[in-house]
């Protein structure tokens, strides 16, 4: 075990964890923020996506020891009132069905738009590889395009 100082959503946390423990489980089981989801554990589905700095990272395979000083943002820290343009678009387009994968989808979309405010359809497809078994992909795409126009 080792102690790590990590910043999540602007707040400092000292966590005592196995250095190999993926960031996902530190966030969920130690810090107790459960908006970031477990889906596959092998960085395939994207349900666990968080930001480290401005980068979208699949936290289920990212050891806590590799985080360093970069601040982490989870879905809970994306906005104070759920009013980030991407969140707003998600509500307006009524994207979620079961909703489980959506925090990862949103975090992926936010990082994409930050880097590329006007992505082409092709660029959206290339980045949005998160899995949704409910099949909400078309609404996700529509919401990203809407948020892109607004930002």
């Amino acid at each position: 075990m080792a102690a790590f100082n990590i910043i999540i959503n602007g707040k400092k946390h000292q966590v005592d964890a196995d250095p190999q423990m993926p960031l996902l489980w530190v966030i969920r089981d130690i810090v107790g923020l459960t908006g970031t989801k477990y889906g596959c554990g092998i960085a395939q589905c994207g349900a666990c996506t968080v930001h480290i700095g401005d980068l979208a990272v699949r936290s289920c395979m990212f050891p806590v020891q590799s985080v360093g000083d970069d601040p982490i943002t989870t879905i809970e820290g994306l906005s104070e009132k759920g009013d980030h343009p991407v969140q707003k678009a998600w509500k307006e387009i009524d994207v979620p069905q079961c909703g489980y994968c959506q925090s990862g989808q949103i975090m992926t979309a936010v990082a994409l738009l930050k880097k590329n405010p006007n992505p082409t359809e092709e660029e959206i497809h290339r980045t949005m590889t998160n899995i949704c078994r409910c099949g909400t992909y078309n609404r996700i795409k529509k919401a990203i395009k809407q948020a892109s126009q607004q930002s």
Binding site: M1, D18, M21, P22, L24, W25, R28, D29, I30, G32, L33, T34, G35, T36, K37, Y38, G39, C40, G41, I42, Q44, C45, A47, T74, I75, E76, L78, S79, G82, Q87, W90, K91, E92, D94, V95, P96, Q97, C98, G99, Y100, C101, Q102, S103, I106, I124, H125, M128, T129, N130, I131, C132, R133, C134, G135, T136, Y137, N138, R139, I140, K141
Partner: protein, 710 residues
């Protein structure tokens, strides 16, 4: 069916009472038990469907489990429509399991809205009538002079208004009126509108707590190891290394399973990897290749004398036919792959157990757990969380049973038992593997006169005896058989229909091709025969069926494309009382490879309750259906699943998803199922488009193995 008031039976009597903190509640007097009454004999608000407090806050209770099918929004809409309240001001609460208070707390069979259509509107209308009565008393006016608007009773003459909150205390003392008239469809203000999912805010901020997110004081995490192959038993266990692993507290052995209990999810997953266990085969372990041979052999023999349906004489008609058309289709096992893996919280105590988590069948689960742990049912509490997908997997209660055992054997600990994705995918309950064989006879006038459908499934039956084109063909026979196997199978979104529609609609396409008929016109001809002269019993309405087919042809421009690189395929299927027709449109590239571009969908689901929810169910079901038909397969080798995670079990992603255009037939009929019916026609529409483009008939899934796609 005529719109009107359905006479409510005794179980549906509505009862009213005062809220504990002041206000009004209405509920169904389901079983006339005294459990709703406190010691003084006064009613308390436990069985409420509607609560209105003195501030005017309206709370509508959703009794059914939410799996993403949208009931938590749609059912309260039915109540709010009749109650005449501003949707944006109400709150929706999820009820726990309570069969004394609520009926049919199940998510399955696309039945929630279908079953609640009358009763939920009736209770809303009754509450509204009582609020009007209270206002009439207060103002000393006749009820006819009053109406309601957005949570207020309004005097029609002078426009004076009084909010519901000011009337609830008086209303709570009134007699419940009988058979209050419910709205006619023309006056719907909410039903048919686009209403966003009530949990959106909590979901998009990460605040919603799914079952897997359950945290309790002193709670432990656990995971369970099952035999690696179906048909194996646990022979010996060495837990030495696992117990030395960080964060691991206990290793338990129960049934044929091993539970690892510890301080965090990851630590118990790591601990599980250090378990050394020996497993013994209980018999011959079979795999996909073995099943393929067995199913083939079974279909080559004469069917048993227990046909599911027999119209006319198929054998004689086939031998007299001018032309025989025959195709055999095969379906792989499929995993459910809910994005939220199986999990459940359990805390067994001396006298009972608390269960909390994602379950489609809370009532059946409670019975099962009560039997297992030998508690009376009333000592087993079940709280349902919004589920990260169900698709039929959460109709089973195996993972709840595991949680209850782990809590009990672990020393009555509060515990969340969480499956890894690998456990979830390899742990069973699959869509059965099927083989379907169709033989059709066409007479000298090029008319379809005989149809023989034979099916066999691994572990579960496959045929639906009365599916279209039953009723249109004079000689029609359906035979179905089961090949027994230790592989656990379960309903999977659109059970039976999910593969039946693929094979049936592909076969109809093949017959149309071989008889030189347009696939759309051929279906309409068959339906016309049903309308004028149905053979045997039919469960579908040929006119409604024909209407979705015609409209799908119209909106998709069927047969009208001038682009030589675009090919269309047609399919239509009736399931869960809903009619759906779909047209798949694909593009053939210069190199001959195919890419699915778009699916047009027309549905007749009766009255559309929530337009946004209805569209999203169809869009999602179509993408889900295409995804599984294109890419998914769970194969077995010697009883062991070959796939274990999303790196080797392919799920559809955004880049492969077709555009989907949804249309509804305008209708005032009762609402019918919607969570499942969009899925079955998607795969055959695509396969029939592939046939149009290439002349190749796809008979097995996943389609990607054909090598025809980019």
């Amino acid at each position: 069916m005529k719109e009107g008031i359905k006479k409510l039976n005794r179980r549906d009597f509505i009862r009213v009472g005062a809220l504990a903190g002041g206000g009004l509640f209405l509920g169904f007097n389901s079983l006339l038990s005294c459990s709703d009454e406190d010691k003084s004999g006064k009613l308390v608000d436990l069985n409420a469907f509607i609560k209105i407090d003195t501030s005017g806050q309206v709370i509508i209770i959703n009794p059914n489990p939410e799996i993403g099918q949208g009931v938590k929004t749609a059912l309260p809409m039915l109540v709010a429509e009749e109650l005449d309240v501003d949707w944006t001001t109400i709150k929706v609460e999820q009820a726990g399991l309570d069969t004394q208070k609520y009926k049919r707390q199940v998510a399955g069979g696309s039945g929630s809205v279908r079953e609640s259509w009358d009763s939920f509107r009736q209770i809303g209308a009754t509450a509204r009538a009582m609020l009007i009565s209270a206002a009439a008393t207060k103002w000393a006016l006749k009820e006819e002079m009053l109406t309601t608007k957005d949570g207020m009773v309004v005097n029609k003459q002078n426009g004076e208004k009084i909010p519901y909150g000011k009337l609830v205390e008086l209303a709570a003392t009134l007699e419940v009126p009988q058979n209050v008239v419910i709205k006619s469809p023309e006056s719907f203000k909410l039903i048919g509108k686009r209403i966003a999912n009530v949990d959106n805010e909590a979901i998009i901020t990460g605040r919603y707590r799914y079952g897997i997110d359950t945290k309790r004081e002193g709670m432990r995490y656990a995971t369970v190891i099952r035999p690696p192959a179906f048909g194996q038993v646990l022979k010996s266990l060495d837990d030495g290394e696992a117990l030395k692993s960080k964060g691991i507290e206990q290793v338990l052995r129960f049934d044929n399973k091993i539970a690892i209990i510890g301080l965090s999810t990851w630590e118990v997953f790591q601990g599980a990897k250090k378990i050394k266990a020996e497993w013994a085969d209980e018999g011959i372990l079979e795999g996909t290749m073995d099943y393929r041979e067995k199913l083939k052999m079974a279909l080559s023999k004469s069917p048993k004398e227990d046909s599911k349906r027999k119209d006319g004489n198929v054998i004689a008609a086939l031998s007299a036919a001018s032309k025989i058309v025959e195709l055999t289709f095969e379906a792989p096992f499929l995993a459910h792959n809910t994005m939220e893996p199986m999990n459940f919280f359990a805390h067994v105590k001396k006298n009972g157990v608390e269960l909390h988590g994602p379950i489609q069948t809370p009532e059946r689960t409670r019975t099962r757990i009560a039997e297992l742990l030998k508690f009376p049912e009333e000592n087993v509490s079940v709280m349902m969380t919004r589920m990260g997908g169900g698709f039929g997997r959460r109709l089973m209660s195996d993972f709840v049973e595991d949680a209850a055992w782990v809590s009990k054997l672990g020393g009555e600990i509060p515990v969340n038992v969480i499956w890894s994705r690998e456990s979830d995918m390899t742990g069973g309950f699959y869509r059965p593997m099927y083989s379907y064989k169709y033989t059709a006879g066409v007479d000298a006038n090029n008319k379809l006169v005989a149809w023989h459908h034979r099916s066999i499934g691994v572990g579960a039956g496959a045929a639906s005896a009365d599916s279209f084109p039953a009723g249109a063909i004079p000689h029609y026979q359906v035979d179905s058989d089961i090949y027994p196997s230790p592989v656990p199978t379960a309903p999977w979104r659109g059970p039976t229909h999910n593969f039946l529609a693929f094979s049936e609609q592909s076969f109809i396409d093949e017959i149309a091709h071989q008889t030189n008929k347009d696939p759309v016109r051929f279906r309409l001809e068959l339906l016309e025969q049903v309308r004028t002269n149905a053979v045997g019993k039919i469960k579908y309405d040929p006119l409604r069926f024909a209407a979705v087919i015609q409209k799908a042809a119209e909106v998709s421009g069927w047969g009208k494309s001038k682009d030589h690189n675009i090919f269309q395929g047609f399919a239509a299927h009736f399931s869960f009382e809903t009619y759906v027709a779909e047209v798949a449109e694909l593009v053939k590239q210069a190199d001959g490879k195919l890419k699915l571009k778009k699916i047009y969908c027309v549905a007749d689901c009766g009255t559309v309750v929530n337009l946004s929810g209805a569209e999203t169910q169809l869009e999602g079901a179509i993408i889900d259906g295409i995804g599984h038909a294109m890419y998914a397969e769970l194969s077995l080798t010697k009883g062991k699943p070959d796939q274990s995670n999303f790196n080797n079990y392919r799920m559809i992603r955004m880049a492969e998803s077709p555009e989907v255009e949804v249309h509804f037939i305008r209708s005032n009929e009762r609402p019918t199922g919607l969570g499942e019916p969009g899925l079955p026609p998607a795969a055959p529409a695509l396969a029939n488009a592939v046939f149009a483009a290439t002349g190749i008939r796809l008979k097995t899934q996943p389609f990607v193995k054909s090598g025809l796609f980019i």
